[in-house]
Symmetry: C2
Subunit: 505 residues, 2 copies
């Protein structure tokens, strides 16, 4: 017995590191976010795709650069070698190549897995949801790219969240690096250094380039002169065109044509120019991007996540040199300074025209966006908690609680409560009752705490074919007012009366 | 280059064995099934729970008997040892114990993982969905159990599928084994032999008991005499009560009281007595059941899955001795005879009062049901294909396709198509257009193939502030009737006109 007790105690009652359970108000909010996002996806003609949680290891191999060390492998128990998916983009590319799909808009909302150091408070987990929307197919330049940005704008408008979409273009970056004099074999390393500019001051980034990555100091300074710029699309396009050396570079010419076209399409789509920022320091880590790249920054994220008011955040930003978006917008998974007030980018993506060709004979150009739902959830939850102002949120959808009341020889009216519940279920009404033969009335009122309506059965009323229907003040103090037994309703009218009340409560 | 090509060719474009992608009409049907099932769960006050796809290995240890060999482990990459979840019941029990939840109705719809031999045609996969609904808490006898059966009945009524719920009671089985003279240490082995009675004739089951498991032949015959009985609850209760030896066994007395109570509750809940069958041969494999056990058998499952009409199935059943439900109802994962016409049980569950106590100090009695959605999907898909009668099913939800048409100097009207699409999206209407600067009209009609409405822009009409609105016969032959350009509508009335038409098409 003692041994058995010990064995029991040894089981750790927890979820694995970096994972969590979802239920109650959290899950209801999360599902609302999913519904809002997938409604917009479907509005744009996207079809859902669901892939297995694990893929053949060789499908994932060579797609994630040095982040491949974060991939979760399944144990080799004989048979194929598999690993948990790291994102939803590679499975989508595998699916496109496997099914020889030439064009599609697809979305997928699913969990992905990264064996990274978790930071639960900031919403960085080992198991977390992504919501991806991608447009695959050969189309005219920048049309699908503009639609992706419209989708982003539409979703955050629906979620009532102020955002800025930071934009850049891989060909413009390549041109800048070439013109600055970065050797071809250093472009990737320098690119990843530039990507840190929103967390680190220029001096540190330059130090990394020169000391760690062996870049000539003059070349680093040239890069620094360019990538510090950001603003609306026409401003930055004009700036780059005004530099004769840059303007002569064919990659940059193509990139600027794309950006100009994009600005006109965003205008037609009704995406306000204040919602985007052409930011030359944006690089995006993944190798497979080939054109437009973008990252979404919540304007209130840092403040909400830190429990600070926007005013406080602005004040603190002012102390840091007056660059709130810059200083707080884009922490990477590697961690960094001032971690406690960062939520990070809440969506990111870009154009990847060569990924599908890694699997098959045909290149299928793609552009897509991935929403970090757990981070969006963290922001929305803080907002909702503030709005609720201490009131508890509903955790189940039950609309009617069926109760019984009686005197000394009270039978409990169990079959009668069951029959009423059955009648409500048959009519599609969400109803419950206490699963006890003779429940006490306070017990029934307590169980009905967050339920808006109560049906109360009594022997005398039932003899007349009647029941009592009572509005319970969900969660409020008078839910327990057991004296008021509500209005008398004929059993035959009960469903209709409940439906009427449910519209108003 | 040659090496690179070879490396490409070496990547197998497939999902791992026993897994599949879901998309298109299959995914739409699957999500319909999920929605129907979760609507019923919520109608009964259940709250959703979402747990991680993997659990600590020690949480799963010792819960699945010899099936534990089918558990997928994650590789040991340092840190905790984890494994993919095998079902949704054990994670639920872990969650209850971890959060000290005393009572709840919860549901979970999620994938589970079993390293079993896949049989794709019959819907047996290594990654598959389960939909679980469980009632946890200390309540009066058989009330939650009856509600679970009502939930089953409600769901299959909503899915328009004829089923029978086979019922049995662990205490009655224990009593029968005790009275028949089965030694206590053989009860589990004998129970698993009896469980095969719906696939194997009695002679073979008896052989297994006597020759493999060393049971006395007289004891085996005694068991055989009891477990061959099935029928409605009152009939089987009366039969067992009529046997003096059985009626004297306290386990059986308790079980019979439960079954009698259950029958009265099912009556109050409106579950017809024809929908249940008290079947003394039903054992259920898992060790953790302690009371009522049940298994749902689709009445048309075998026929639909085999592509046979119900008549053919009946005829074939007659050849097999007139026991269609018995012969085809419950193949186990171990395989067996006549596999090609079996779909298996489509839902199963029971009462498990001791599982949660394996994790914590408190026992929390539970009863629950798990729906095998992939098997339900297989049946529904066959029915739907029959009903569609060759017509193709819609794969996306787009309601309106925005097109343009013009003469020789046709500009393509791209910004105008974008503006119209924007107007529709702003109004919540699902709309698309071809992402080309100058698409040809046939190309646009082809892209709109399964879309009910078309908006056609022309320069002359636009100059008047008008567009053409046309009903496309989704998938039908005159979708390509490009001559009829539809009715002229003012741009300002477009959204209202579309909403009107969408109600009727």
């Amino acid at each position: 017995m003692a041994t058995k007790e010990k064995a029991k105690a040894a089981v750790q009652l927890k979820t694995p590191k970096g994972t969590r359970d979802w239920t109650g108000a959290d899950m209801i909010l999360r599902d609302e976010i999913f519904a809002t996002i997938s409604d917009v996806f479907k509005r744009h003609g996207a079809v859902p795709l669901d892939t297995p949680v694990f893929e053949l290891k060789e499908v994932l191999a060579g797609k994630y650069g040095e982040d491949a060390r974060l991939i979760y492998d399944l144990a080799d128990q004989g048979g194929e070698l598999c690993a948990l998916r790291y994102d939803l983009t590679v499975p989508f590319a595998r699916w496109l190549a496997m099914n020889k799909v030439q064009q599609i808009k697809r979305y997928q909302i699913a969990k992905v897995y990264r064996r990274d150091q978790p930071a639960v408070a900031r919403g960085r987990m080992r198991e977390f949801y992504q919501c991806d929307f991608d447009i695959a197919g050969t189309y005219d330049r920048m049309i699908p790219d503009a639609e992706i940005l419209r989708v982003i704008h539409e979703i955050f408008t629906a979620l009532d969240e102020n955002i800025v979409i930071k934009l850049n273009h891989r060909q413009i970056l390549d041109g800048i690096f070439a013109v600055s004099g970065v050797p071809a074999d250093k472009i990737r390393a320098i690119s990843s250094a530039v990507d840190k500019l929103d967390k680190l001051p220029w001096a540190e980034v330059k130090k990394e380039m020169v000391e760690e990555k062996g870049l000539d100091e003059a070349v680093a300074d040239a890069i620094g002169g360019y990538v510090k710029n950001s603003g609306d699309i026409p401003t930055i396009v004009a700036l780059l065109k005004g530099d004769a050396e840059l303007a002569a570079n064919p990659d940059i010419q193509q990139g600027l044509d794309d950006m100009t076209l994009l600005a006109s399409f965003l205008d037609a789509f009704g995406v306000p120019s204040t919602a985007v920022s052409f930011d030359l320091s944006l690089c995006r880590g993944l190798d497979y991007y080939t054109g437009l790249i973008f990252e979404v920054v919540a304007q209130t994220a840092a403040a909400a996540a830190a429990g600070a008011t926007p005013e406080e955040a602005a004040a603190s930003a002012a102390e840091n040199g007056g660059e709130p978006a810059k200083a707080k917008s884009k922490p990477k998974s590697k961690g960094g300074v001032a971690e406690e007030i960062q939520v990070g980018s809440i969506a990111a993506g870009g154009r990847y025209d060569n990924l599908v060709g890694m699997y098959g004979k045909t290149q299928i150009p793609c552009v897509g966006i991935s929403f970090g739902v757990d981070r969006i959830f963290t922001i929305m939850k803080a907002k909702r908690a503030k709005a609720a102002n201490g009131r508890s949120l509903r955790v189940r959808e039950t609309d009617v609680y069926v109760m019984a009341f009686g005197g000394g020889s009270f039978s409990g009216l169990l079959p009668e409560r069951m029959q009423v519940a059955r009648r409500l279920w048959d009519a599609g009404i969400k109803a419950e009752f206490v699963a006890k033969t003779k429940p006490r009335l306070p017990q029934q009122f307590k169980a009905a705490e967050d339920v808006p309506l109560g049906v109360i059965l009594g022997e005398d009323e039932l003899a007349q074919g009647q029941v009592r229907l009572k509005v319970l003040n969900a969660g409020g103090p008078d839910a327990a007012d057991e004296k008021d037994r509500g209005q008398l309703v004929s059993q035959d009218d009960l469903v209709a009366e409940i439906k009427k009340l449910l519209i108003s409560v």
